[in-house]
Amino acid sequence: MSGQSFRLASGGLIDRTRALAFRFDGKSYEGHAGDTLASALLANGVRLVGRSFKYHRPRGILSAGPEEPNALVELRTGARREPNTRATVVELFDGLEAASQNRWPSLAFDLLSLNGLVSPALVAGFYYKTFMWPAAFWEKLYEPLIRRAAGLGRAAGAEDPDHYEKAFAFCDLLVVGGGPAGLAAALAAGRSGTRVILCDEDFRLGGRLLAEKREIDGKPAAEWLAATLAELESIPEVRIMPRTTVFGLYDHGIYGAVERVGDHLPEPAPYQPRQRGWRIHARRAILAAGALERPIVFPGNDTPGVMLAGAARAYVNRYGVLPGREAVLFTAGDDGWATAHAITAAGGKVAAIVDTRKDADPARKALAEQLGARLFAGGVIAHARGGRQLDGVTIRDASGATTALACDLLAVSNGWNPTLHLTSHQNGKPAWDETLQCFVPGTLPAGLTVAGSAAGRFTLAQALDDGARLGREAAVDAGLIPAGAGPVPATDPETTALTPVWRVKGAKGKAFVDYQNDVTDKDVELAAREGFRPVEHLKRYTTLGMATDQGKTSNLGGLAIMAEQTGRTIPQTGTTTFRPPYTPVAIGALAGHHRGKDFRPTRLAPTHDWSREQGAVFIEAGQWLRAQYYPKPGENDWLTTVNREVLAVRAGVGICDVSTLGKIDIQGTDAAEFLERVYINGWKALPVGKARYGLMLREDGFVMDDGTTSRLGERHFLMTTTTANAGKVMQHLEFCHQVLWPDLDIQMVSVSEQWAQVAVAGPKARETLRGVVDSTHDISNEAFPYLAARAITVGGGIPARLFRISFSGELAYELAVPADYGDAMMRALTRAGEPFGITPYGTEALGVMRIEKGHVAGNELNGQTTARDLGLGKMMSTKKDFIGRLMVGRQALIEKDRPSFVGFRPIDSAQRLRAGAHFIGIGKAAVMENDEGYMTSVAYSPHLKHWMGLGLIRNGAGRIGERVRAYDPVRNGDVVVEICSPVFVDPEGTHLHG
């Protein structure tokens, strides 16, 4: 206990039997369960906890809550290091390690505090004025310099080892804040059977009741608190969520909250997340978030030892810590006096009470006498001094005379601002209350009401009354009969009279408005002089309120000084509004489980495990993982593998998974008519048992997707789409059916997941299939010709579908079986093809072979090409209407010079081609005006033994044989190529019909 010299012998809500060891800046200390890091530091007499953002001024602990602008520390070490953590809300745990930030080399001796000496150069707008010129200096000199000098903590720089999660909750009533108003509301609603969620950012419920010595129903408030919590816990439909900050209000009664599940532990408990981000849907909500105390702007008001009066009270009453032995109180109202009481009751001395009100009534005089404090009515603090720790203040009394007093604590009381942040998240503007001298909630978002201090109703009696009333209203709103309205409990008397003082003028030294961003009253004056008077300009010019605390303690002060400078009232000057989040939220809590590999779902084909067994290298294709190639031992280069796979297919047989293609089952008497309208080519004449290649356009005439569609029955088709466009095509078809032609009798459903499908390609494809397809099915060339598509069976009666279609240009089939048999199908094919050297191939070999055959794929169907561009113009039927038909006739789309689809081969066959290279005439400069098109796809053909390319070039089809440059400045490529037919291998198509 030796170190805790400021800890009271008794009292407070800490557990003195549980000592917790912690370290701050490498030094060991001890605190107790129930402490925050701030209260434990104060108990140990640690006052200096950080250096300020810009001037590196010594800073201490200003508050006891979430508004803290000064006591920002780096919490934990290593990958869990968390910068800018407010010591006032960090729940102490055994082994906690924290470090001060923004100091070098040490907190006590900071070299960069020299910034304070050159501070005239660092006033508002200094970025804009000082570093404008020369421009080249910005990146190299100014920015690195500023970044080192100004700033806060350091991010961990390593991957966060913890898990985060998201969760969704629903309730009739969300109560934000577990103080007296919130508890009364939850109780009134909960007793009626309302589904209630009560959130409080603190680890202990009770709000200000924890920090005050108050009475409810003639008994200590702690008794009411204990009884209320016990009852709430016993109600099944009431969910109490401590350590949970409701940080945002969104549309339709949706609230964002973050639950700090494991932040109060050295590391999260086994199987527990660190934090949980909640999305709460609330029929109704009550904001009972209390209020935040306001500082006063005077020189030296940032000296460690200057503290908000309500915070000082909280440290005494809740944490059993005396924040100073020799205190001075600087108050603008009655509330501050409670702090003088608390300090005296705890054995501290209050040397003076400086009450800004001139008319010291006799009761206050008597009270000051009773407390043994000198009373300065109508006085102000002209200056607080001490550097690293407060050692005294200069008081200027009503007559203007000054008195210097020694003290180690200056408690400042200037009234409270309602914590109304959530009320303005939907653009609600707070309203200025002249009587209360604060902003109160203005127009409220639908479903939200405000209780107690958050509504500017600052007394305990009002809090209890509001809570009970609004809680019952919520029950009625939920369609319930509210439980009997018992009498609102009586409270001991209190007064909240206040005449706020925004700043003390006429004194020398820095007086801070925004502690965290080091904005002084002089900065606000400068902004006023230079014309940055609207509140939004003030904010941006001075950075007032733009730090991580979002101006909780500074916005109103800045506004008041601007009002004074411009001779306007505060409401004339502007309002302060707030955006989410109320306090900083870790991005992990928003991402939840969805990071890394879980960022989005990964889709695996039914053949995936088989491919993995074969040693496949996978590639992402949209959400899918597809086998890219199957390296064999000794193949150290992907091209070696791909060449082997291509040659094996064209010489024997290969198999490649195509389960990822979209498959849409289309049935109905109008199914053929439907296809006529969505595809450019004809479908009505397609016989049952046949497949056909189809191309569909968007409404604007550009190609949307392609694929084969098979007629399985008179009124039953199976459409396939590309892997990439499966979802988009399904959406498009649904739109066409539901919106354009609801009268058509068609029924559509995706069957993509039902079927495992494999391409079997190569001259030995039929012989391989013969070993898999049940012998009752004749698959000879005559019985099962090119483009046949029929239901068959495999493996002794397993239903399957066989399609004789080819992407490789070889004799090829696609075999589909129910997905459960996908794995077995690959094994059966492997067995059957063994005599022919069957080879699994991936998307790379697939790509090589389609380029060898000049088939278009995703690179060409890129949303900028028409059927005509791709050499498929003749497919467009002139005998029917189809989507895109009219727009494809637009002038620009039918111009002769439009880039069109052709092949390219390098003149020097040793040269490698690059996709993305642009075509430029030989001898012409590589400038935009000479650009004639670009290469869409390239591959190395193991048959031709050189690279080949497909691409779009101006009037391509009319320029076969011409030479151009393929210019690729990104990879230093400049290759002369010859324009050729896009079909490089087997142009007669003899393989296909083999």
Partner: protein, 206 residues
């Protein structure tokens, strides 16, 4: 080729993804997950103006009424689950005779078999709702999502068909169907979400 299997062994949607056993917090499991296997599943879409005829056929064949709203109709061997306006999923515990049943229904509806298209999970236990709350963006409170209610929604960015069955002694019972290809991603979310409650996993018949 190292491959030696000789028969066409079916492989369910959970194969290689999840195994029976336990994971997460020790002690009494808060969540029970049954990987459903071997069920028959088909989408049934009514043709224009044939809903009544389809309804009669279903009633005659299965003794079940087609639910017109997001509900599940349960029979001893068959369930009919609402799947959209004039669309349903027909589910059977076993695939025996399923093909025959489907062809009978084909007279009045577009029927497409989907038995292999979905990974299915039955979730129960006292903390089942708490797990689902981490992914399902719907209110599953007993007063909001009653026994027999059905939802088409998504969980962890995976499309899901969810419904609630009769309560068990230890809490609510949900079933969830997912696209087969995304079963692995779903499972990753499920394990991360259920482990704090402790989970027991088993295989079972639909």
């Amino acid at each position: 080729m190292a491959e030696t299997a000789t028969s066409w062994d079916p492989r369910g949607a959970w194969a290689g993804i999840a195994q029976p056993g336990s994971f997460g917090a020790k002690g009494e499991a808060g969540v029970f997950a049954i990987m459903l296997e071997g069920f028959g599943l088909a989408s049934v879409i009514a043709e224009p103006d044939t809903t009544a005829a389809l309804s009669q056929t279903v009633e005659a064949l299965l003794g079940l009424t087609l639910p017109p709203t997001p509900r599940i109709a349960r029979g001893p061997a068959h369930d009919i689950v609402w799947a959209g306006p004039d669309q349903w999923l027909l589910r059977t515990a076993s695939r025996n005779g399923f093909t025959g049943l489907l062809s009978e229904l084909s007279a009045h509806a577009a029927v497409s078999e989907q038995s292999d298209a979905r990974a299915a999970l039955r979730l129960s236990g006292p903390r089942a709702r708490d797990v689902l709350a981490k992914g399902v963006m719907l209110d599953l409170h007993p007063t909001a999502f009653a026994i027999g209610d059905v939802a088409l929604t998504n969980v962890a960015y995976v499309g899901a068909h969810l419904w609630r069955l009769d309560d068990a002694a230890d809490g609510p019972v949900f079933e969830i169907l997912l696209p087969r290809s995304m079963a692995g991603s779903f499972w990753s979310w499920f394990v991360a979400s259920a482990r704090e409650f402790g989970c027991r996993v088993a295989s079972g018949r639909g």
